[in-house]
Homo-oligomer: 194 residues x 2
DNA sequence: GTGCGAACCTAACGAGTGTTCAGTAATAGA
DNA sequence: TCTATTACTGAACACTCGTTAGGTTCGCAC
């Protein structure tokens, strides 16, 4: 139907935009650049999207929803905090690996969202981080983790490691995302263990 | 003398530019924005700098030189690889903490350098990373570190953690940079140890 | 064959971009 | 007092920006 075709074309636009934003950054990417990538004129883009920012908005909030979903599943699990933390890390990596381009945009370009979208985005982000912090707290309380660790430092180090992954991970590499997540989780969780 | 006053004013311009670039990104920062921050007109900036990119160039390459210097000192030390790695991490953190603003620009905005400066910058970066890789190799060879670790993964995780620090570290916080470096080094090195 | 909607076009808008240029006021050294 | 230098200015240049208006083409449904 029309809406399917429409969505499909719109998604093409958004995917190409994600590639462009990743390469050059949002602010340095022009609508004419994007149009050229698609083989059309800049004005034609506006048949599919409302504005440049709408593209960024969709990219950022779609990724945020994926991360949320992944963590939802982990929190339902029973078991030690270290296992939950590991699975949280693995899930995060898998979500990123599913779309490295969008992940890079999500991470580096979200600041170009205008208000109030930026505020909304940052709230989602803080919420996500706090849920990881709670898992670490749980591990500290039940004696799995060192009790003298700085929780903010720990959780920020964690996210730093995870969020830079799209910068250096080669999707054609021999390391598959699952094993990557496993290894990363090992490295990071071991650092916390007593 | 003239040159001192000139340098001083030029440095003021560059410092304010660093703040601006950090907040809004290089591409989204205009010379008129920068001028306004300094209370002058945009045209007046060109009495002090040759171009917008010259500012970015100076910021990026000055930081690169600082990182290099710090690692030079570490490499001269004798002792176990884990100690060298720790000191490398602590040094890196201290260089960043000395100028968080410039560090953030160094990390996030270097890609807006034009050629051949971008190529030069990336070469410096690869070199720096490889020197850390060599320390890890040393630790694997002499049995300090797990031998099954993926070196690329380890070193990239390391840099990810370090390089995001300017994003969340609050210079008014109670954690002083030295202790921050110490804790970070502990966390990351423990993950590698046998 | 008529109508419709998706996809695209050309042309243009007002605003903002980095940068240049000629000129001015202030200050310091001779 | 004259001179040179520094810091700055307003005006302008040649672009580029995101976006809009109005219109064309094409294929499908009835």
């Amino acid at each position: 139907m029309d809406s399917v075709i429409n969505l499909s074309r719109k998604e093409q636009v958004i995917r190409k935009a994600a590639e462009l934003f990743r390469e050059k950054g949002y602010a340095a990417s022009s609508m004419r650049d994007l149009a050229q990538k698609l083989g059309i004129e800049a004005a034609s883009l506006y048949s599919h999207i409302k504005s440049k920012e709408e593209i960024l908005h969709q990219l950022c909030f779609d990724m945020a929803a994926e991360f949320r979903k992944s963590l939802d599943a982990v929190e339902k699990q029973k078991g030690p905090a270290s296992e939950k933390l590991k699975n949280g890390i693995i899930g995060h990596i898998q979500v990123m690996a599913k779309d490295l381009t969008a992940s890079a945009v999500f991470m580096n370009e979200h600041r170009h969202l205008s208000q109030p979208h930026l505020r909304d985005f940052l709230l989602l982000r803080i919420n996500y981080i706090n849920r990881f912090k709670a898992i670490i707290d749980e591990g500290v309380k039940n004696g799995e983790f060192k009790e003298h660790i700085d929780r903010k430092l720990a959780v920020m180090t964690l996210f730093s490691s995870l969020n830079w992954m799209p910068m250096w991970y080669d999707p054609n590499s021999t390391i598959v995302p699952t094993s990557l997540g496993q290894q990363l989780a090992d490295m990071l969780v071991t650092g916390l263990r007593k």
